[in-house]
């Protein structure tokens, strides 16, 4: 009997001990006031997948991004690293501030479009297609340098009208199904939509690895998916409409930690 109990205790101890390399933040870190990261709504299995860098499939994109960071491309013979050196130092905190107002274009810019502009202007290289593996990988790599840092989005001054535009988008019923973002993600988060728990639609873990797509995925791809799920005409990825929405949604998640690469259903 004693041996059996000892064996049982050993099995239990093994089951509850997390692997040493798991990130495993305490659950409280995924909530700031009334704002919950999508992590909060995940089941245990998916949480564990995100927590373990050796199992998290989004880490493949981060690794690919690290290689792209060092790869020389374009007419100027430069890589990202040529000017920025070590991403772990200089890119730390950058993702917490994007999307943001951009004086140069007079609109909102996000990390994807910023990376592409740097490629064109500083490297003399062609921009990557919006949802290409390369652009997602670099975006994931840059975002990953801010993992654990709080999202801090500036919506003041010239960003304000874009913030209002994004907020209006969020609150507008759309498509043949005639449902707004807010109806689910503000009013019904935590409730069951068929077999799935509705999240708040937070973006602090983006680019994310989405299990149903089996790929690293951008915020705009998710917007497109949500729109077409409501049978609404989507906007192009990278469009001003989605940039304004991304600004509003990122602000909505202010204070939530950057989780890139998150794993979502």
């Amino acid at each position: 009997m004693k041996a059996l109990l000892a064996l049982l205790a050993l099995v239990l101890a093994t089951a509850v001990t997390a692997p040493a390399h798991a990130q495993g933040w305490p659950l409280e870190r995924y909530t700031v006031e009334d704002r919950n990261s999508g992590y909060f709504y995940l089941g245990r299995q998916t949480r564990l997948l995100q927590d373990d860098d050796f199992q998290n499939p989004g880490m493949f994109a981060v690794d690919q991004g690290a290689a792209l960071w060092r790869r020389v491309d374009g007419t100027q013979g430069r890589s990202c690293q040529t000017c920025h050196q070590n991403a772990a130092d200089v890119m730390k905190g950058v993702a917490t501030r994007y999307p943001a107002y951009d004086a140069k274009s007079g609109g909102i810019i996000n990390l994807e479009l910023l990376i592409n502009r740097e490629r064109v202007e500083k490297m003399g290289a062609a921009p990557f297609a919006y949802e290409s593996p390369e652009l997602l990988a670099l975006t994931a790599y840059v975002s990953h340098q801010s993992r654990g840092m709080a999202k801090n989005i500036d919506i003041s001054g010239p960003a304000a009208p874009f913030f209002e535009q994004g907020k209006e988008f969020w609150n507008t019923r759309r498509g043949q199904i005639d449902i707004s973002c807010a109806m689910c993600h503000d009013d019904r988060a935590g409730m069951l939509l068929r077999g799935d728990v509705i999240s708040q639609g937070q973006t602090n873990g983006h680019p994310m690895y989405r299990l149903i797509w089996q790929s690293i995925s951008s915020t705009h791809r998710m917007f497109e998916w949500c729109n077409t799920s409501m049978r609404a005409e989507p906007y192009p990825l990278g469009s001003p409409e989605y940039l304004a929405l991304e600004l509003y949604v990122a602000w909505r998640g202010r204070g939530l930690p950057v989780e890139t690469p998150s794993v979502r259903k």
């Binding site: 005639d178 009013d187 939509l193 068929r194 509705i198 049978r231 609404a232």
Partner: protein
Amino acid sequence: MVGLAAGVAAAQAQAPATAPTPLQAHLTGPIPPLVKYEIVGNTTIPQPLTERPGDPVRGRRVVTDASNSTCLICHEVPTLEEFPNQGKIAPSLEGLGSRYTAAELRLRLVNPKLLVPDTMMPAYYRTEALTRVQRQYVGRTIYSAQDIEDAIAFLMTIR
């Protein structure tokens, strides 16, 4: 010509994966004309939208069609217990057929916003006053007129 025939055969071989079920013919073929209806007493549409009476068996397939806004996304239907993972964001449809008349259900399916303007529930038979409908759905209703009648026939059996 052989090439074309082979192409058609290949397309047909792939068809089962993506082709809509016969239930959704109104979502892909020629756009059916919208049937006019009369609202009586602000809460009912007494006249059926079709000549053919509602078929509860087909109606059961209509309301459980997972790829066309099934009721089960949001509502629980205790008599459909073989369908797992029913939604819980809207009231249960338990005893629905005892609580409402067919005329009341018809208005609630056709356009529930006439009763509760800010309801989240879609209007299953409406094409106007919508924002940015996806191109392939413009001018189309979620349910066909026959779907509405068949769905009501089924929903009235929930007692």
